[in-house]
Each structure stands twice: as structure tokens, then as C-alpha cells.
């Protein structure tokens, strides 16, 4: 299952179109809190998370999931500067980062 956590509805919808268009199973959440309340992730899942979520940030969500023992594959997306991204993902291992706006095919990057 592919899990999208993105507060911008257009970006979330576009991402969903891209993944579901390729026949992949997708669920969309608008916030970290919404995801935590309604879904449990496993190591088989891939979570695509915006680092700049309002409320619990993307980085905090990843830390929270690690602590809870869920180990999905994580792809972080962000429109911020590389320095900010480095700060927000400090201490997080095994994290693929995709920067907004996309400069390459994201489907390939996500499913690789």
C-alpha cells in the first residue's frame, strides 16, 4: 500500500493520480494525526510524506512511527531549501527525499 501524507489537496490528488494511474493501491491523508488515528503501517507499505505538514511535521511522524515499531519505506517530499531539509530530517535514517517541484519522474523515484 502506498500512503500519501500531504496537506496540499492538489499535490495529494496529483500524486494519487500518478500512483493509481499506474495501478498501485493508494491512500491519502491530509495530516500526520489523521494517519496515526486511522491506519497502522507495516514494513510492506511505502509512505510518501510532506516534511512541512501543519501540526505534527513529517519528520516527527517518521520518528513517531519508528518508535511505534512500524517500519514502512519512507519517501519525504519538501519544497524547502536543502539546509532546512537536512535540519528537519536530522537523525532519520534510510530516507529518500524528493524535492518540489519535481525535476524527474516521481513514479519511477517512488517505486524504485
Amino acid at each position: 500500500m502506498y500512503i500519501i501524507v500531504e496537506d496540499d489537496p492538489s499535490v495529494a490528488d496529483a500524486l494519487e493520480s500518478l500512483l493509481s494511474g499506474a495501478g498501485l493501491p493508494v491512500r491519502v491523508f491530509a495530516s500526520a494525526e489523521e494517519l496515526i488515528h486511522s491506519a497502522a503501517l507495516t514494513a510492506d507499505d511505502t509512505m510518501i510524506v510532506d516534511l512541512g505538514l501543519p501540526g505534527m511535521s513529517g519528520g516527527e511522524l517518521v520518528r513517531h512511527l519508528e518508535k511505534a515499531g512500524a517500519n514502512p519505506k519512507v519517501i519525504a517530499i519538501s519544497g524547502k531549501s536543502s539546509r532546512t531539509i537536512a535540519r528537519e530530517t536530522e537523525g532519520l535514517s534510510d530516507l529518500k527525499i524528493l524535492r518540489k517541484p519535481p525535476s524527474a519522474d516521481w513514479l519511477e523515484a517512488i517505486t524504485a
Binding site: 490528488d13 519535481p102 513514479l107
Partner: protein, 387 residues
């Protein structure tokens, strides 16, 4: 009694001498014809004459010629009318050193009636150090203004990058999605589905969202209350260059100013024009810094319709491709990202009825950016051209 009196006088004179020489201010005593009777140590330093040289001469010796002419007239006027122009009041005047240097002085004058007639005591304070402080303060203020202007442009750039990111991301992802589906349909020999048209519609919406953001920014630039006035372009540009030179103190790039003698009047918001000039200058200085000759030339000219400000650097110029994309909002050849600055600058110029043009140079020629503004026409000054 005579002997005692002489001794008392001698003691009093000795005290007076030592007072004169320890005073922190210049002290001069003149008689009612303007002849100097006392010229203390500080005066020797201030004016470059020894007391021996000065005493006995007219006080006009230490004034710039334009003041010395009127001094005699002031004195005789005072003697005739008793009207006080300076005595007991004090004012700022100009003094002149032996070497011709004219400098500001604060002068207070007292009057003494003596057995030898009226005498005037002048106390002089050199104002140059105070001036230097004042100048420094105003320079720092200018620097703050300059920084504020530049950072406003940078902040706008950062804000726009942030805002444009979301619609552009969505747009590109929709297009990636639809491109994949088109390819898949094509491979299966099927016609495009409604779903694909739906995704295309959405991508158009996202493109519109991005363009609304750009329009909003344009309004910020254009709809700011214009403070248009008829100004001499040379003065406006000069001020911008002074600001920039001050901030770049110690920099190794020479700024050459090629200005004509006649005023060039344009109807413009001086602050906005200075923003453009500062922006062009910052680009040019950055390029020139890396070049061998290290200069930036700023020239101003006009024909009967338009005024021009050109900024040329000693750099290598840029390729035609770069030239074409220069004014695109985020394009830049440098890390600091001045592409947005150029786009805003051009928007400001066009809003003034002018334009901003780039000559890429190359083959040993540096790049030239030219700001064009319509000349002020006295006839239609009240015309509602700016709507």
C-alpha cells in the same frame, strides 16, 4: 604703588597666557579694526600660522575670501548701529587654514571695553570631528535603507518560490500521470479515457493557480502607491551608486560614472528606479569581481523621447541562451538567484512606460543592462498617462 601694580599686571598676564595655551578651543582677540592681538596655541594648529605671524594682521587672514570681504562690513555696521549679529550669540562659520583648506568652526564672540578701545574675544571650536560623526551616521542610515530594499526583493523571491512550489508540483505530477496513461493507451491501441481528460483539466487548473500567484506579485509591484515626481535621472542614479559604493567599501571593483552635464528629467518613482539600479549594479559587481579588469561602468544618456541608464561590467558577457532566459522569473546563472530581481526590475520599468533590456556582450565584451524610461514632457505633465 606703580611697582606693585606692574607686578600684579605681570602675574595676571602670565595667568592669561597659560589659560590661553591650555584652552581646548582656539582663542583670538581682535581690536575694533579687526587686527589680531592674541592668537593661542590651538589657533596655531587650526590655521597653520604661528602667533608671531598672525598677531598684528587682520583677522581676515584666517577666513575664506568670501567671508573676509564681509567681515569688515559687519564690524563697521556693528560700530554704527550696535546691532549684534554674532556677539553673545555664537554661530557656525568657516575658517581657512594657511594651506587653503576651508573647514567648519563654531565661533562665540565676547566684547570687552578696554582703555585701548573695544576688543573682541573669539572662541573657536573645530567642527570637523563632529561632522565626521554626523556623516558616518547618515552613511549608516543609508546603508540600512539599502539593505532593506535589497532584502525586500530577496524575501519576495523566497515567498514566491514557496507559493509557486505547490501548484507546480501538482501540475508536473498530473502531467507525468497523464503522459504515462497516454503511452499505455497508445501501446494498447485504445482511445484516451475520460480519466485522462479529467487529469488534464486539473493540470490546467494548477497552471492557473501558479499564474494567479504571479499576477498577485505583479500587482504588488505595480499597484504600490506610486510616488511619481519629475526627477533628474542623474541624481537618482548617483544616489543609488553612492549607497552601493558605501556598502561595498573596500571592494576592489571600480565604478565608473559616465554622466552628461545637463539634467535628464523623467517622471518616476525615485525609490523604485533606485531599486532597479541597485539590482543591476549588484549583478554587475558580482560578475566584475571575478573578471581581470574589475570595473563597472554606469552611463546615462538620452534622446528626445527616452532616457537611458546602462550598466556594463568587465566580465565575459553571457551566452545567447542565457540571455533569452534572463528575465524569466527564477532563472539565474548565479547561486544568489537574481533572476527574480531582473524580472521585478523589468516589471517596474514597464510600469513606468519604459523597459529593461540586456545586451549579452561576449567576445571580450561584458554584458550591458539598459534601463529605458520615457523623457519628461512638460506639455502633458498633468496628463493622466499613468492611469
Amino acid at each position: 604703588m606703580g611697582e606693585q601694580e606692574d607686578r600684579r599686571t605681570a602675574v595676571s598676564e602670565a595667568r592669561f597666557e597659560s589659560l590661553l595655551d591650555t584652552a581646548a578651543d582656539g582663542i583670538i582677540v581682535i581690536d575694533d579694526t579687526g587686527r589680531m592681538l592674541v592668537f593661542n596655541k590651538i589657533c596655531e594648529r587650526l590655521f597653520g600660522y604661528t602667533a608671531q605671524e598672525a598677531i598684528g594682521q587682520n583677522v581676515s587672514l584666517i577666513m575664506p575670501p568670501e567671508f573676509s570681504m564681509s567681515h569688515d562690513r559687519f564690524m563697521s555696521n556693528y560700530h554704527r548701529t550696535g546691532e549684534r549679529r554674532i556677539i553673545g550669540i555664537g554661530r557656525e562659520v568657516s575658517g581657512m587654514h594657511r594651506d587653503g583648506t576651508v573647514f567648519p568652526l563654531e565661533l562665540s564672540v565676547g566684547e570687552a571695553k578696554t582703555a585701548d578701545g573695544r576688543q573682541y574675544i573669539g572662541v573657536l571650536r573645530d567642527l570637523r570631528s563632529r561632522r565626521a560623526v554626523e556623516q558616518r551616521v547618515s552613511q549608516l542610515q543609508a546603508q540600512v535603507v539599502h539593505m532593506t530594499r535589497l532584502s525586500a526583493m530577496d524575501e519576495m523571491g523566497a515567498a514566491m518560490a514557496h507559493e509557486l512550489n505547490q501548484p507546480l508540483t501538482a501540475l508536473l505530477l498530473y502531467l507525468q500521470a497523464v503522459a504515462r496513461q497516454v503511452k499505455a493507451c497508445h501501446a494498447d491501441g485504445k482511445p484516451p479515457s475520460d480519466k485522462m481528460l479529467d487529469v488534464l483539466d486539473k493540470s490546467v487548473q494548477e497552471a492557473e493557480r501558479a499564474s494567479h500567484i504571479v499576477q498577485r506579485m505583479r500587482q504588488m509591484v505595480e499597484k504600490r502607491d506610486p510616488e511619481r515626481a519629475t526627477v533628474d535621472l542623474r541624481e537618482v542614479v548617483n544616489e543609488a551608486l553612492d549607497l552601493s559604493e558605501f556598502v561595498a567599501q573596500g571592494a576592489t571593483v571600480t565604478i565608473r560614472r559616465v554622466f552628461g552635464m545637463t539634467p535628464i528629467h523623467v517622471d518616476a518613482d525615485a525609490t523604485q528606479i533606485q531599486q532597479i539600479i541597485l539590482n543591476l549594479l549588484r549583478n554587475a559587481l558580482e560578475v566584475a569581481k571575478e573578471s581581470e579588469e574589475r570595473w563597472v561602468k554606469v552611463s546615462i544618456g538620452s534622446d528626445d523621447r527616452s532616457a537611458f541608464v546602462s550598466v556594463t561590467d568587465s566580465g565575459p558577457g553571457f551566452s545567447e541562451d542565457v540571455g533569452k532566459s534572463l528575465f524569466r522569473t527564477f532563472s539565474t546563472t548565479k547561486k544568489s538567484g537574481m533572476g527574480l530581481g531582473l524580472a521585478i526590475s523589468r516589471a517596474i520599468a514597464q510600469n513606468h512606460g519604459g523597459d529593461l533590456m540586456a545586451d549579452p556582450g561576449g567576445n571580450g565584451q561584458g554584458a550591458t543592462f539598459t534601463l529605458m524610461l520615457p523623457m519628461h514632457r512638460p506639455d502633458d505633465a498633468e496628463d493622466d498617462t499613468w492611469g
